[in-house]
Structure formats: C-alpha cells, structure tokens
Amino acid sequence: MQYHIMFKNLSKSYQSKGAAKTALSDVTLNIPQGEIFCIMGSSGSGKSTLLKILGGMEKPTSGTVYINGANMADYGQQDYDRHRQMAVGYVFQDFNLLEGLTLKENIILPLTLQKVSETEIQKKYADTLRCVDVGYCENNYPEQSSGGEQQRAAICRAIIKSPKLILADEPTGSLDHVNAKAILSTFMDIKERMQTTIVLVTHDAAVASYCDTVVFIENGRVCDTLRKEETAQLFYERIVTVSSKVRGVI
C-alpha cells in the first residue's frame, strides 16, 4: 500500500486587487509514505497554500503534483471529490468543528458523506476512540470543551475515514505546551498504527523536532531540508540553527 507524493516545479500565485501575489514558486518536494513530514516557515511564507493544493482544495498555477505517480492535473471533478472525501484528513489550527454538533457528531460527519452503513459508522467510531480518547466528552458541544479536547476531536474527524494522508495546518498553534505535546504523540501513534503520511505545518521548532523530515519554506521557496538522524533534543537544536540561518539569508 504505497502512498507517495511528489511536487515538481510547483507555483501558485493569487490575483489580489489586480496585482499578482506569488505564494509558492518552483517548489519541488518528495514526501515519502508513512512519515511525519514537517513544513516550517514564518507566516505568509506559503505553507498553508502548499497544504491546500495537496488537499485538493486549490489548484496550482503551474507545476505538477504526483500522487502515486498520477498527475493531479489529470483529475476530474469526481477524482478530486474522492481524494478529499477518502484520502485526505484535514486538521486546522482553530479546530474548525461545527458548533452545533457534539464532538461525536463532528467526528462521524465525514462518514455520513460516503455510503457507509450505520453499523459501520459505529464500529469505525469505536476504533477511532481506541487511538484518541475523547469518549468521555463525546456528548459535549465544542463550546463546552477545552482546546485540547477539541483538537483531539478534530484529529478523530480526520482519521475516522482511515485516510492515507493527514494534513495538519499548525495543529498545535492554539494549544498550550502540555496539550501540544499530547497532540504530537497522538500523531506519532497514528503514524505507527496506520502508516499514514502526515504533513504538518508549523513555525515552532519544538514541534518540528518530533517529525521525520523538516522542510524550510521562505517567500514561497524551499530553502533547506533536514532529516532526523539524532535524538529529538539534538534535532531541535539543529532546526533552530537552520531556521535562524534561513531567515537571516532572506
């Protein structure tokens, strides 16, 4: 079950108020399966844009994205829908749970979009809870839940459909240290159990140090790539050095 992603000379520019704004330019990347792949960069550097393109939410201006060798540009509307519905789970900084649904209802929402039977839904929900524990607060509304609970529910919502790819856009950005750490270990756990590829966006070196590969993006360009070969502590120090260097260069 291979799931291999490749970006080739990817560029994206937005048309805002008449002027073109380049968010990504000439990005070439290789994301191996079953890794926690980190994208680091300061805000406005194009991280979210990259994630949106990967998630099938937006299309690149030029360049290609290959998923298992298939060019995404050749996708029809149905393929895009299937990609978003089956293959990708999204996690956001501000959780993006629906405030009118309980945590449980939020979690099973993606399954109700597919033709999944009621028993299957219950079974998958139970499976998901084994990975991430939100069972004790499943009937609470987001408003009544802590940030950590909400983010764990959001992760459940992403993994309940057993996606091949999880895209997490600053998932710890709104959380305190303890909760952030819990979320990261959840991600590592998911990676171990399901061999899911996780692409994680952050500007926090501490978060990046948990990942297998870290890519630095500034002004829409890839500046550097680091692979984790040492302990988290040493990796963290390396990331800090490189990231200040990257910023210094630009």
């Binding site: 998630g55 939410m57 509307q77 829908d81 978003r84 519905q85 089956m86 990708v88 999204y90 956001f92 993006n96 629906l98 405030e99 009118g100 649904l101 209802e105 099973i108 929402l109 993606p110 399954l111 109700t112 979009l113 009621e118 839904i121 919502r157 459909k161």
Partner: protein, 625 residues
C-alpha cells in the same frame, strides 16, 4: 480628545436595517392615512363591510411589529459594541455617559428613519390617491394629519420603551461582564413551553374563528388574528427545537442531515425572530392577496337582490303622477318587461333604545301581494317583518321565540314613526325574501294589514309609492331612464349601482395589490438582509465543510436545505394560518373562495420559489467560488 471618544462610541451604520425601518414607517404611515380617510373607508365599506375593520387591525399589528423590529435592531447594535464600551469603561470613562451617548446615537438614527419614512410615506400616499383620482376618476383628498400624529406617537413610544430597557441593560452590567460580553444567545429558555403555547394558541385562534358571533366588529376581527399571530410567534421562536426532533427520529435521516441539524441548533436559533417576522408578513400578505383576488374575480352578480332595473320614488302621489305613469306604460310598453306600482311609506324605528333613526319601509299587505302573489292574512295591529336578504348567501344569526324565528327584532310590540307620529304594532313573523330593489340590506319592511295602512295614510295626510321597472333588453335602459326622469327626480338604477361598485372594487384591489407588493418586498429584503449579515461566517463554515470532504453537489444541497428553511417555513406556517383565517373569518365560504384561496397561495408560493432559487444560486456562487 472628545472627538476620539465620540468615534469610539459610534456604532456601525447598519444602513440596510435602517432602510427596512424606514420602509416600515412609510408603510405604517400609508396605512394609517388610508384607514383614517373617511372617503376611503366608505369605498371599502361599499365593497365588503369587514374591510375597514381588518385594515385597522392590520395597522395595530404593524405597530407591534415595528416595536419588535426596532428592539431587534437596537440589541443587535448594542451587542456589537458592548465589548468596546467595556474597554472604554475599564479605562475610566463614565458608564452612564457612554450609555447616554449610545442612546443619543440611536435616537438620531431613529429620527432620521422617521423623517425619511414620513416623507416616503407621504409621497406614496399621494401617489396612490392621484392614481386613483386620475385613472379611476375618483375624488379622494384630505391630508392624512392623523397619520402624522399617530406614526410620530407610535415611534416615539417604540423608541422610548426600547431606550429605557437598553439603558437598564447597559447600566446593570459589571465592567468585566462588558469586557467578556458575548452576543446573547437569543434562543428562548423553554422551547417546549413555547411550542405548546404555540399549538394551544393556534387551536384557540381557530376556535375563535369557528365560533364567532353574528356581528363583525373590531374585536372579532382582532382577537383571532392576534391569537394566530401570537401562535406563529411561539411556533417560529421554538422552531429549531421541534424541527430538529423530526430529524433525530431515525438514524439514517439523522446522519444524512448532520450539518443541517448543526445549523438548526445554532443559526436557526438566531434566526427565530427573522422567521417570526417573515411568517407574520406571509400571514398578512397572503390574506390580503386572497381578499384582493376574491374581490377582483367576484363577478358582482347580485341581481337576485335587485330584481328590478329601476326604482322610482314618489312622495305624496297625486293624480298627475298616476297619469304620467299610465302614459309612460302605454308609450314604452314594448321596452318594458315588468312594472309594479306599490305603496310603501318611509318610517323609522328606535334602535337600541335611542331615538327614531333607523329607517324601515311600511307597506300594506296588498302591496306585498302585488309584488309576490302571496297572501299573508294579517290582522289589524300585526306586523310581518320582511328582511330582504338571501339566506343562502348571507349567514344570518337568528333566534327562536314563541315559535317564531327572528333575526332582526323579537316578536312583540314595537313602536315606529311615520309622518311625525308614533304607532305601536306587534311583530308576529319574520320572512326572508328578495322582493324589490333595496340598497341597504339592513333596511327592513314592515308589512301591515291594508286597513291599518289606510289609517296611517289618512293621519299622515300623504301616501308614498315606489314604481319598479324591469326593461326587456339592456339596450333600452337609457331611453327608459330618460323618460322616468320626467316622472320623478329620485330614481335608483341597478346598472349605475353596479358600475360604481365595480369602480370601488378596482380602487380597493389596486390598494391591496400595492400593499401586498410592499409586504412581499419587505419579506424578501428581511431574509436577504439576514443572509448578508452572516455571509462571511457562513462562507467560512462552508469552506470548512469542503475540507472535511463535502463535494460541491453536497454543499449545494446543504445551501438548498438552508434556503428552503428560510423561505418556506414562514410560508408554510403563515399560509396555513392565513388560509384558515380567510376561510373561517368571512361570513360565507363558497367554493369559489376556496379555489381563490388555494390558487393565491400557490401563486404566492411560486413567487417565493423564484426568490428561493435566486438566493440559492447567488449563495452557491458566494460560498463555493
């Protein structure tokens, strides 16, 4: 320095909400003007005697509606600024001063809306009158002074009451409450209670309509309407509560509609007031349209109430008059189908213990025989009351007494006035029958014995006659009329009556159509306004759904569900209520009326459907670009 404070206190402009308020004021003014115009009242009265009554009821409810709308506007504006005010207060500004400044801002906006509304209202009012005067050749005038006073008073009250409650609300808050102020959850506390009260009021209103009294007055028009409107209020306020229950009953349905349920639990709690407003608008709009169409399609064929084409009134008849009639009949014999010369005196009776002011006809038994060929066999001193109303057409409340059914006066002695002298005779019977021309359906004829009649005539010193003519073909109407004028100056003609009635009918239906258009316009703008207020938040929600895996088609489906709720929940609830009101409130319900009612409802629904389609399309583009 002071300038900065002023800028910090200033609220958002919310011009669209104030435009709505202005339109509301203008509408209110136009209606008040029309309802207080005595000429207009008599025109409406001539079409349908209930019209002025429910128009007045409508004005009352519009006043209540303005109050609710303005309250909503104020709270919305204040909620938005509360946190800013908290910051100002925490920096040391005087809380009372800020609340005064806020209320002053609201007062200025209200004044502006009032002035513009009155201006627009005056313009609309005079445009309506001018259209009616020129196109339909009517003669309406009068400045709606009462309108200005009433509108000014009502809106002053609306402002003052709201200002007082807002002032209390602001001054009662701690600084920390203001700083952490979250928009109040506008949902109601006891949705179950609301739901039950709603259904109870609905039943009560329907009950009032079914068992209404025989007389149609302000109360009998207002109370069912008020009860039904209040029920609509309760049902729409608790709408999200009972509507969610429908979806939660079966699991597949529940799962298929998760997002919609989420919207019901959040947005539609917030939208409750909007739905209520829209429902009330639908109730009135639809009801007025039903009236309008049934007026316009009414063929006006009341000829059974007017068996003769002309009635010639002859007071103090002498030999010359009789000679004239003889000549007329011999000259125009071929043009005439039927003529009757009968003796009928004008009399008056007391009504509800007051002076002799209510008119009756007094006729001898022989005249009744001339007209109908029926004998009554009256004794001296007896009266048979003739009510010229078709009992199949009018719903007449009657009572039984001593074996006699009566609807006008109970059996027993009754005094009446003829030629300045009061006579007392005894009512023994009442008959319902169309016998001769009569304009005022409530005017009765007292039939007395011939001997009695001769006695009264000789005491009064004069006799009166009515000469009834039917022509053989409508072409001869002008000729016959011309000749009749030589006999007596007082002639009423059926054709002429119908003509003015038709014109009056047109006046009223134009008025109503205009009003319905205004209502429909305000309904749609109310909905669009609300959608517009939330567009950015909703857009975020939808793009969030997209990332969860919704396809475009599924998102489009969700938008359709939401718009259907906004457009059709008020329609279904409102049309149910107004159909019930239309069918039950009127004294007579014919098949034609039923057809008109449902036809108009369908038409209304079709218009709503078009708006629904437009809204769905537009939002689809907005949310899913």
């Amino acid at each position: 320095m002071k300038n900065i404070l002023q800028r910090a206190v200033r609220t958002k402009a919310h011009s669209s909400m104030y435009i709505m308020l202005t339109i509301g004021i203008a509408m209110f003014f136009v209606y008040t003007g029309l309802v207080s115009n005595s000429q207009m009242i008599s025109v409406m009265d001539s079409i349908e005697y209930t019209l002025p009554v429910w128009m007045t009821a409508l004005v009352c409810i519009l006043a209540v509606f303005s109050f609710v709308y303005y309250r909503y506007l104020c709270i919305y504006t204040l909620d938005e600024k509360m946190k800013d005010y908290g910051i100002l207060v925490s920096m040391g500004y005087n809380q009372k001063r800020i609340s005064e400044a806020f209320l002053w801002i609201m007062a200025k906006s209200m004044l502006q809306a009032l002035l513009w509304g009155l201006l627009a209202g005056t313009l609309i009012y005079f445009i309506i009158l001018n259209i009616l005067n020129h196109v339909l050749d009517m003669d309406f005038h009068a400045v709606p002074l009462q309108g200005y006073i009433l509108v000014g008073a009502v809106y002053a009250a609306v402002y003052l009451i709201n200002a007082a409650s807002l002032g209390n609300r602001m001054n009662g808050l701690e600084i920390s409450d203001m700083l952490n102020y979250k928009k109040l959850d506008k949902s109601i506390d006891y949705p179950n209670l609301y739901q039950n009260i709603g259904f109870a009021l609905l039943a009560f209103g329907l009950l009032l309509l079914t068992f209404k009294g025989e007389s149609y007055n302000f109360a009998s028009a207002l109370f069912p309407m008020l009860s039904l409107t209040a029920s609509a209020y309760c049902l729409t306020m608790s709408f999200s509560h009972w509507f969610t229950k429908i979806f939660i009953r079966s699991t597949p349905k529940y799962h298929r509609n998760l997002f919609y349920i989420s919207q019901l639990r959040t947005n539609y709690k917030k939208y409750a007031k909007l739905l209520t407003g829209c429902t009330i608008i639908v109730i009135f709009g639809l009801f007025m349209m039903i009236i309008d169409v049934s007026l316009a399609t009414d063929d006006g064929d009341h000829s059974f109430e007017m068996p003769y084409d002309f009635t010639v009134y002859m007071d103090a008849v002498d030999g010359d008059d009789l000679k004239n009639i003889e000549d007329f009949e011999s000259q125009k014999g071929t043009l005439l189908k039927d003529t009757r010369l009968v003796r009928i005196l004008d009399g008056a009776i007391q009504w509800e213990g007051q002076e002799f002011s209510r008119l009756v006809h007094v006729m001898p038994e022989s005249s009744y025989f001339d007209l109908t060929g029926k004998h009554l066999g009256l004794q001296n001193g007896e009266i048979v009351v003739l009510s010229q109303i078709d009992r199949n057409y009018y719903d007449i409340g009657t009572q039984e007494e001593n074996g006699m059914e009566w609807g006008f006066q109970p059996p027993g002695p009754v005094p009446f006035l003829v030629g300045g002298k009061v006579y007392t005779r005894t009512i023994v019977k009442e008959i319902w029958e169309i016998v001769y021309n009569i304009e005022d359906q409530t005017q009765r004829a007292y039939i007395i014995s011939d001997e009695d009649y001769e006695g009264i005539v000789s005491e009064a010193g004069y006799d009166q006659m009515k000469y009834f003519i039917s022509v053989s073909s409508p072409d001869s109407l002008p000729t016959v009329y011309e000749r009749l004028c030589e006999i007596s100056p007082v002639i009423t003609a059926k054709a002429a009556n119908l003509e003015t009635q038709a014109k009056n009918k047109l006046v009223v239906s134009v008025l109503i159509l205009l009003a319905v258009m205004l209502l429909l316009f305000s309904l749609v703008s109310l909905i669009l306004l609300r959608i517009n207020q939330d567009i950015s938040e909703e857009k975020r929600k939808y793009s969030n759904l997209f990332s969860v895996g919704y396809t475009y088609a599924q998102l489009q489906g969700e938008i359709r569900k939401e718009m259907a709720t906004l457009f059709f929940v008020p329609l279904v609830l409102g049309s149910f209520i107004s159909i019930m009101y239309a069918l039950l409130a009127s004294s007579r319900t014919s098949l034609r009326q039923v057809i008109v009612t449902f036809g108009v409802t369908l038409l209304f629904a079709a218009v709503q459907y078009c708006f629904y389609r437009v809204a769905t399309r537009t939002l689809g583009r907005q949310y899913l670009n």
